[in-house]
């Protein structure tokens, strides 16, 4: 039942906030109450009971919400990231803060729906429902060239998701599953022939690759971030909405392993390219938001490498990285909004030497930036490291190439910090304000929490990765006996995660031995 409340609370508050009109007090108050309540609720998600009830009985569509391992972790972290976002939006949006916060909250409800849905049609409903608030935020509150950005965003997003819809609608009648619930579908999809699976997988993959995003379907992202409201709040919401990786992880790969077998290598290649392309493009940017957009694209490439590598550790790492970058990328977008509030520009050339007059802001920015570029001990590191390491076990060249993007991350990261905070100070600026400190506290706390204690979250994700890595492995493994031994393998202790996957095949009881050994 908690899962239902996690979806409903933000939606109800969105309606209330929308009806409350344009008073800023209402926007701040309702925004904070809603995001805090939702966050507290999400903490009780893992292990709680789900809810499943018929929705359109004749069609086997159900309303099923279940907190799975990966889904609950992502919901928790997204709820955490929403707290400062709603606060900043309520304070910094000049005209109609209430409407903006209402859209943010709607977005949050829909995102929770995406992460918690265990019915494929419900998943799609939530997936599309999140599109509307994000489009309205961009279109109604964005910057000068927002109209072109909205159009581009819609064409990519809707084009992709409607193709996905074809596959979703076809998958149940073709496989003969009793309903669209995950449990029923996964029992029936082995009936599908290989070629059918490939076509269905391609349909799903197009929709999900747009939202991952993967090159060459990433183009909307850059303009989306550049043209969104300068507070950065909408960009955080957009960052949380990068749900493509989760879609592959939770739906496409487990349901259609034979499709993954054929298409996966292509997707892996595209992910590697995306990681490198995003990183290199980020180096060349002079606009703060475009730089962040390309840099986060590069991270999404690494997520892709982790997922399409199909190795247990890589899968764990990819989902963990998705969660971590909600905080780090989100944090950097909020920092960019704070800087815009001071100088009214995102042009890096107009900044410099801010560290002198705003040392605390510089320090906090550096902290979030370090997280972003994957410094050990902070949130992104375990995710990035495991993603690449996992992929390395099965696809060493792809992982090696993608790892180069981490090196480039150092370049654009240092570039970003130096041009903002170091060098000659042009004019003094305001030091960080109380509002901004309050906004960054939850993010910093979350980053430390994920960075220092990754194991609890990783083991939650692993519970799902194992289920999912198994059918995915059947697609790649020649020896079917390897499959049989997977469920029998002892579940990994959280602390073991790094050790067995770091050295493949070292320990005979390593949980991923069947995967590594079958190659």
């Amino acid at each position: 039942m908690i899962a239902l409340f996690v979806v409903l609370v933000p939606v109800v508050f969105a309606v209330v906030t929308g009806l409350a009109g344009s008073r800023r007090v209402a926007a701040v108050g309702f925004g904070l109450v809603s995001t805090l309540t939702t966050f507290v609720l999400t903490l009780f998600l893992p292990g709680s009971a789900g809810i499943s009830t018929p929705w359109i009985p004749g069609l086997g569509v159900t309303f099923t919400l279940e907190p799975t391992g990966a889904g609950s972790v992502l919901t928790i972290v997204a709820a955490l990231a929403m707290i400062p976002t709603a606060l900043m939006a309520a304070r910094r949006v000049e005209e109609g803060p209430g409407a903006f916060v209402a859209l943010l909250l709607l977005m949050q409800g829909a995102l929770a729906g995406i992460f918690l849905a265990r019915d494929l049609v419900l998943f799609y409903v939530a997936w599309e429902a999140a599109l509307i608030p994000s489009m309205l935020m961009l279109g109604a509150f964005g910057r000068d060239r927002r109209r072109a950005a909205v159009l581009k965003y819609l064409v990519y997003a809707i084009g992709g998701s409607f193709v996905m819809l074809i596959s979703i609608l076809a998958i149940r009648p073709l496989s003969g599953a009793a309903s669209y619930r995950f449990a029923d579908l996964i029992a029936a999809t082995p009936n599908l022939a290989g070629a059918t699976q490939v076509w269905l997988f391609i349909g799903l993959a197009i929709g999900m690759a747009v939202k991952l995003p993967l090159w060459p379907l990433h183009n909307w992202l850059i303009d989306f971030n550049e043209q969104n409201h300068p507070s950065g709040a909408a960009d955080v919401a957009g960052t949380l909405y990068k749900v493509g990786g989760f879609g592959f992880f939770a739906w496409a790969i487990p349901l259609l392993p034979l499709g993954m077998e054929r298409i996966g290598p292509i997707l892996l290649g595209l992910s590697v390219f995306t990681a490198l392309y995003g990183a290199l493009a980020a180096v060349a940017q002079t606009d703060m938001k475009r730089l962040l957009a390309y840099a986060s694209l590069s991270h999404m490439g690494i997520v892709g490498v982790g997922i399409f590598g199909l190795h247990l550790a890589g899968l764990n790492g990819a989902i963990f990285l998705l969660a971590a970058q909600m905080l780090s990328t989100g944090g950097l977008f909020l920092v960019s909004g704070m800087l815009f509030a001071r100088r009214n520009s995102f042009d890096l050339d107009r900044y410099g030497g801010l560290a002198r007059s705003a040392p605390a802001l510089a320090a906090l920015s550096l902290f979030v930036l370090f997280t972003f570029i994957g410094v050990p001990g902070l949130a992104n590191f375990p995710g990035e490291f495991l993603s690449l390491l996992g992929a390395y076990q099965l696809h060493p060249w792809a992982a090696a190439l993608a790892t180069l993007s981490v090196i480039v991350a150092g370049v654009y990261g240092v570039n970003f910090f130096q041009r903002l905070y170091q060098g000659e100070e042009r004019e003094p600026t305001r030091e960080i304000g109380a509002l901004e400190v309050f906004a960054l506290i939850p993010l910093v706390a979350g980053i430390l929490w994920l960075g220092i204690f990754p194991s609890p979250q990783l083991s939650r994700i692993e519970a799902q990765s194992q289920l999912i890595a198994a059918p995915a492995a059947t697609a790649t493994a020649e020896a079917s006996s390897a499959l049989a031994s997977v469920p029998a393998a002892p579940p990994a202790r959280p602390g073991d995660l790094l050790a067995p996957s770091a050295v493949p095949g070292e320990g005979p009881v390593a949980p991923d031995a069947p995967l590594g050994g079958s190659r």
Partner: protein, 488 residues
């Protein structure tokens, strides 16, 4: 074919239709002594309410197992008929509400308007209940005659008179083809009743499969005119644009409901026994409708004409479910209810934005509506998103149902065409949203108000959201009881 021993009247089956007809007659007499249409509007709404109550009663009787037909399966009261009666009554009452202030503002407020609406709705309900080709033709004519008059209601305006004339000529043409098809079918099978036609065709040694299929094809063409299925849709955009917007609202929902009710019943009962090329032809027409309707809507700059082509496009989506035959009946019934709500809503908003003479429906009129009239713009956003098939609104669930029906019946390619054209459709629906929220008005615009229209808009908006969130309720109703009595 033989009559049952005694004629089975079962008058109760006629309750809703008679209630509408009697109200229409009373209202016509009453109108003689009236100048404005306000009082006849109220009378008409009372009539609709009585008909709805009788329909509920009938539905409950039906679910309790009462005989669902009169005159030997000629007049049916099975689940599709009764549920689509609800849709027709819903569309009628919403159309009356949106007309209430609009007619006064447009100087069209004559008391005969509302009785004509009721006559037309009566015909629509007869069409929905029709279990034989003659009843079908009667209903079609009763429904159409009233609407021919209503379309040219704006006397002296060329567009309106052109709309009425065009609609009348093409409508008469369509009826003639339908009658020709009826004659051929009768010639081949010796019966007008669907059930008897089905049994005659399946009898061993049936001699005239080609003749009966030709008859079926002509009946299909005749109904395709009313349902605005391409290439027989050409009257629709002109008639929809030229007629007063309140009449367009009525036409776009009630006539479409009646036409598809008749079409899906025939396609589910009679067509499967005919030669397979008939269904192939229909599937080609449906594909054409999807493409033509959506592409043409994309090119429009006026919102009214855009909605007219969008109505053609939705005929295509409904056609997908018609193709599915018996499996598609529920999808059609569900979709038509959702379509009625969102389409009336969209037209009602348009009426409050455009001028009294129906000019000024350009997209520019919607610029800045999000700031000037936030509630109205919000409702319009809901209707556009729902028409475009964005979850979690009614239009999305409707699309899921029709695509499912098509895929389950093997029309996967058509479903794919349907989904691709849905992407095109989103472009023109989103264009309205773009104007409302992302542009500023270039000049001062009039702001018309109407509390009756507000009631219709918010009822439609609420319905659109609720049907999207709780699709199972209406789906449960349309799936209960006896499906398709005409099928033996």
């Amino acid at each position: 074919m033989s009559f049952p021993p005694a004629i089975d009247f079962h008058w109760v089956n006629f309750g809703p239709v008679l209630a509408l007809l009697i109200t229409a007659a009373i209202t016509t007499l009453f109108a003689l002594f009236q100048r404005g249409g306000r009082s006849t509007a109220w009378l008409a709404m009372i009539g609709v309410a009585v008909a709805a109550a009788l329909n509920v009663n009938l539905f409950m009787l039906h679910r309790a197992g009462a005989a669902g037909s009169s005159f030997g399966l000629r007049f049916l009261a099975d689940t599709p008929a009764l549920s689509l009666d609800f849709v027709i009554l819903l569309g009628t009452v919403l159309a009356i509400l949106v007309s209430y202030d609009y007619l006064q503002r447009s100087d069209l407020d004559h008391p005969e308007y509302y009785p004509l609406i009721l006559y037309s709705a009566t015909g629509a309900m007869v069409m929905v209940a029709a279990g034989d080709l003659i009843t079908l033709l009667l209903g079609l004519e009763i429904m159409s005659l009233a609407v021919y008059v209503l379309s040219s209601w704006r006397q002296g305006a060329n567009e309106s008179e052109e709309a009425g004339m065009k609609y009348f000529l093409l409508g008469a043409f369509g009826s003639a083809i339908l009658i020709y098809g009826t004659a051929l079918t009768y010639g081949a099978t010796g019966s007008f009743v669907y059930a008897d036609i089905v049994s005659a065709m399946s009898a061993p040694g049936f001699a005239a499969p080609l003749l009966v299929t030709l008859g079926g094809a002509l009946v299909l063409v005749g109904l395709a005119f009313k349902a605005s299925i391409a290439p027989f849709h050409q009257w629709a955009p002109d008639a929809y644009t030229g007629a007063p917007t309140s009449v367009t609202t009525f036409m776009s929902v009630v006539i479409k409901t009646a036409a598809f009710a008749a079409l899906v019943r025939i396609a589910a009962t009679v067509f499967p026994g005919m030669e397979p090329w008939l269904m192939t032809t229909l599937s080609v027409l449906v594909g054409l409708t999807l493409v033509i309707g959506n592409l043409a809507a994309l090119l429009q700059t006026g919102v009214k004409r855009m909605l007219a082509y969008s109505a053609v496009a939705h005929a295509g989506y409904l056609g997908l479910a018609v193709l599915a035959g018996p499996h598609g009946v529920r999808a059609v019934a569900w979709y038509l209810a959702a379509y009625t709500l969102m389409n009336v809503g969209a037209f009602a908003v348009l009426m409050l934005v455009s001028d009294a003479n129906d000019r000024g429906d350009e997209l520019e009129r919607f610029a800045g509506l999000g700031r000037r009239r936030p509630a109205l713009a919000f409702a319009m956003t809901l209707f556009m998103l729902s028409l475009g098939g964005i979850p979690p609104l009614a239009g999305f669930m409707g699309k899921i149902l029709v695509f499912q029906a098509a895929i389950a019946s093997g029309y996967t390619v058509l479903a794919v065409i349907g989904i691709i054209t849905s992407v095109v459709a989103l472009v023109y629906y989103f264009r309205v949203i773009t104007y409302m929220y992302f542009r500023e008005p270039e000049y001062e615009l009039p702001a018309y108000r109407s509390s009756a229209a507000q009631v219709a808009i918010w009822a439609a908006a609420l319905g659109t959201v609720l049907m999207g969130l709780l699709p199972g309720w209406w789906y449960g109703l349309v799936s209960s009881g006896q499906q398709l009595l005409a099928r033996l």
